[in-house]
Subunit: 135 residues, 2 copies
């Protein structure tokens, strides 16, 4: 049985990026997303201690500009494409707008982590970092 209570995410940091316009952001990192800084809050800094340059990581973000009342979208914002159920797409618009971004650590500087590519816009809240597992 699922619990009916809501679950509250607390940002652990935010994205610092030259990308500022969501409409100009690539849909996927493989389409030319720039390097970006992950700026992590001191309160959770201890959790970073084993991250190193070269590590592949999943960055989980909260896509704070997304619409949560949308259940079908035109994939890739292309009005000519047939609508698809949101759970078959990576659309930001969805009931719980969590973004998952696979990237690689280029460098670390205390609470700041430079990653090789990230399609999230400047200011996007970060909610988790996980290692990429080997499969």
């Amino acid at each position: 049985m699922s619990s009916e209570e809501p679950f509250v995410l607390r940002p652990i940091g935010h994205v610092e990026s030259a990308l500022v316009d969501p409409r100009a952001a690539p849909k996927q990192a493989s389409e030319g997303a720039p390097q970006a800084w992950l700026v992590i809050d001191p309160a959770v800094g201890e959790g970073l201690r084993d991250l190193r340059a070269g590590d592949e990581v999943l960055v989980l973000t909260w896509l704070h500009r997304a619409r949560r009342d949308v259940l079908a979208v035109h994939p890739r914002d292309d009005p000519a494409a047939s609508e698809a159920g949101v759970f078959s797409t990576r659309s930001a618009d969805r009931p719980n707008p969590i973004g998952i971004h696979r990237t690689q650590i280029v460098a670390t500087d205390g609470l700041r982590i430079l990653v090789s590519h990230l399609e999230a816009v400047d200011g996007t809240p970060i909610v988790d970092l996980k290692p990429v597992l080997g499969r």
Copy 2:
């Protein structure tokens, strides 16, 4: 600048599984996790309409039994292992206990989706489903 306001996740469904004891659950699905049903709420059922048997999906869960005040853990609950910062591990215990489970759809039955393997215990809330992208 990151927003300071909290973000509220709303469960979109829950896991129905023979796994009931978190201590008995495999750490990763590749270690013998069983088939499981994803039971989705009618309110978001429209978002499922393009999911088909054979699709590879990421199931995002809220690991509701996790501790959120933990920043370093013994990997794989092995007390002999050195502690590691949580962001270098897939530990359920972390500031925002979101689980990411890669699996494959075996069958769909309306609002119920059978997946090939899932390491989450019975009753775990589901917060999102995303397609696996080709990379």
